[in-house]
């Protein structure tokens, strides 16, 4: 007799990883990863609550007189707006902290974020909603392009391991360790001041107002090129490096060798097998990096005077417009949450393992 394990037919094909290889289960698995999405949704609700609560406490942590003087400076505020501001910022009130918290949630649910001092007492919500499309448009566009170029480039470089294309890795990594604002300033110095190819800042020319004419859109593109290109260059390195590393790990797996031995054309192995598996952690890190992308936005908008939410936050901070500060922070956090949710949904459908159980 030999020591080979007897191969008996296994009844149920599911062997779920739970610390045992026992193969008898009661229920099966579903197509839509409800468990996964459900737990993520719960997490995001919790984060939302945390963000709103942090927002609640922020102005109350500031030195008392600064916030009290805020209303004192602004006599032109309507009584309703004044009440809202009191509830938002916690000034000038005898109510208990808990009562303030409840009032605050009331405002949040009504979408009332107070009025902005710096912007002629217009509602904060309105001010932000004007600036938001600029940020989302530019940064969203640039980030997606950067992600695509970086991921595809990283896949190709990983596939052609050891070739001269590897030089791209240190180059792009160097470009991403350069502080972003400096890169932006250099770009302005070079392309705007010296070569005069692009305008120095802003989203569109002075004297124009937003409308859907080709001329205006041309302006937007012209003004937006430099900021977009700097974002792309600065963030390319991270995507490329991550993808290339994952590719190297995946290409070592046996199923790649099997695919090639079967005679599958190289392009299919590269894209349908290797890259498809290597991209999963990329999407995860994309979701995680959204918070950092937001930080980059603030800097970019300052350097290029771009009228997005980042610049709004900076102006509000410098001008001590507390209501606007609070509002912008909330909106930024919400955007990050939404982007994370979208990335999670994409991940859930791309990775079949999420449809099984997470033990």
């Amino acid at each position: 007799m030999t020591a080979v394990e007897p191969q008996l037919p296994v009844e149920t094909p599911d062997a779920l990883e739970v610390g045992t290889t026992a193969t008898t289960t009661v229920k099966g698995r579903s197509r839509i990863p409800w468990r996964f999405l459900g737990s993520r949704a719960l997490f995001y609700l919790f984060t939302l609550w945390a963000a709103i609560t942090i927002n609640f406490f922020l102005p109350r942590l500031m030195k008392g007189d600064a916030v009290d003087q805020y209303l004192a400076r602004n006599r032109n505020v309507t009584p309703e707006a004044a009440d809202a501001l009191r509830a938002l910022l916690g000034i000038d009130t005898d109510k208990s902290m808990w009562q303030q918290y409840i009032d605050y949630w009331g405002l949040m649910l009504r979408g009332d974020l107070g009025v902005s001092l710096l912007h002629g007492l217009r509602p904060v919500g309105e001010v932000i909603s004007q600036a938001l499309p600029w940020t989302v448009g530019l940064v969203g566009f640039a980030t997606i392009i950067s992600f695509l170029i970086g991921t595809i480039g990283g896949a190709v470089i990983g596939w052609r391991r050891g070739s001269r294309s590897e030089i791209m890795i240190p180059i792009t990594t160097f470009l991403s360790t350069i502080p972003y604002f400096w890169l932006g300033l250099l770009a302005i110095a070079l392309f705007s001041v010296n070569l005069k190819w692009f305008p120095i800042g802003k989203a569109y020319g002075v004297g124009y107002s937003p409308e859907f004419t080709p001329e205006f859109i041309g302006q937007v593109i012209h003004h937006g090129t430099l900021p977009a290109v700097t974002i792309i260059i600065a963030s390319l390195g991270g995507w490329m490096l991550g993808m290339r590393n994952m590719m190297l790990t995946v290409l070592d797996e046996d199923y790649i060798t099997v695919a090639q031995a079967k005679g599958m054309p190289n392009s299919r192995v590269l894209w349908r097998y290797a890259a498809r598996n290597a991209v999963l952690p990329q999407i995860q890190s994309f979701a995680l990096s959204i918070g950092f992308i937001v930080g980059g936005t603030i800097v970019m908008e300052m350097v290029f005077s771009y009228p997005g939410v980042g610049k709004l936050l900076l102006d509000a901070t410098n001008g001590k417009d507390y209501a606007l500060m609070q509002g912008v922070f909330l909106v930024i956090t919400l955007s990050v949450l939404v982007a994370n949710i979208l990335a999670d949904i994409a991940y859930a459908f791309l990775d079949p393992r999420t449809r099984q159980t997470e033990a």
């Binding site: 030999t2 007897p6 045992t20 008898t24 289960t25 009661v26 159980t357």
Partner: protein, 269 residues
């Protein structure tokens, strides 16, 4: 004489999203010192779960484990005493040793933890244990696990298990990840140690041949249930249960197979 009773133990795992998984279903057996019991079954039959429950890495859903008639305490000194009495040798010789630490560290720890010998004798005891598992102490004691071969690592694992001078040993597929040519060496070592120290050994394996060779009694496990038990010869040579019969039939036996294959000239391999 030490006796371990595994009494009507059931273990159910709850898996999120997939319901329940019954790893063990009303399993009972008794292990006494001086005796080797072979636990046989295919992957997924629950063998490793029994090992984990015995070493208190998992707790049973129902049923009880008793040492010398007394149930195992869940914590405190009673648990420590129990742990000293029953030690395990793991299946994967690479994973069961910490890659960062020397062999000396691995064998010292149980000696220190259980105060087996006074401090000044610890080094000597480490060497004595290495010698017992037929490794030359000087050449091994300062090395890291990755510098040793699989067989050597498994011997170190056995030495570590013996350090606290237990009465009972659980060997969870101790040779299934070793080269075939060195398996008998390690198994013979285990058999010698069992005889010399009067240990009670639970030998978990999927290999019927070695189970029969080394065990006094054999238990056959299928999907968490004991389907057959008896003396080694009875179970292997005269299996009653259809599953056991299938197991025996499924074990490849090259001599009988090639003798009946057409076309190739007869004769031994």
């Amino acid at each position: 004489m030490t006796t371990l009773e595994f009494d009507s133990v059931t273990k159910v795992y709850h898996v999120r999203g997939a319901g329940q998984m019954k790893a063990l279903d009303d399993v009972s057996f008794t292990l006494s010192s001086g005796q080797t019991i072979g636990l046989v079954g295919q992957s997924g039959s629950g063998k490793s779960t029994i090992a984990k429950i015995l070493t208190q890495l998992e707790t049973p859903t129902s049923g009880e484990i008793r040492l010398d008639g007394k149930p195992i305490p869940r914590r405190g000194k009673g648990l420590r005493d129990y742990r000293q009495q029953l030690r395990m040798v793991f299946q994967d010789p690479f994973a069961s040793l910490n890659p960062y630490h020397s062999i000396r560290h691995h064998i010292e720890r149980p000696l220190r933890l259980d105060d087996v010998v006074p401090k000044r004798e610890v080094e000597d005891e480490v060497r004595r244990l290495l010698d017992r598992v037929r490794l030359e102490p000087d050449s091994v004691i300062d090395r890291r696990p990755h510098e040793l071969s699989g067989g050597q690592r498994q011997r170190v694992a056995i030495a570590r298990a013996l350090a606290s001078r237990p009465r009972l040993l659980v060997a969870d597929e101790p040779v299934s990840m070793l080269d075939v040519s060195i398996r008998m060496g390690v198994l013979n070592l285990l058999a010698d140690l069992q005889r010399e120290e009067g240990l009670g050994v639970l030998y978990i394996t999927h290999d019927l041949a070695t189970a029969r060779h080394f065990s006094d009694e054999i238990l056959v496990l299928n999907q968490g249930k004991v389907v057959e038990s008896g003396t080694a010869d009875d179970v292997i040579l005269r299996p009653q249960n259809p599953y056991t019969q299938e197991l025996r039939a499924a074990s490849p036996d090259p001599e009988s197979h090639f003798a009946s294959a057409p076309g190739l000239s007869g004769g031994t391999r």
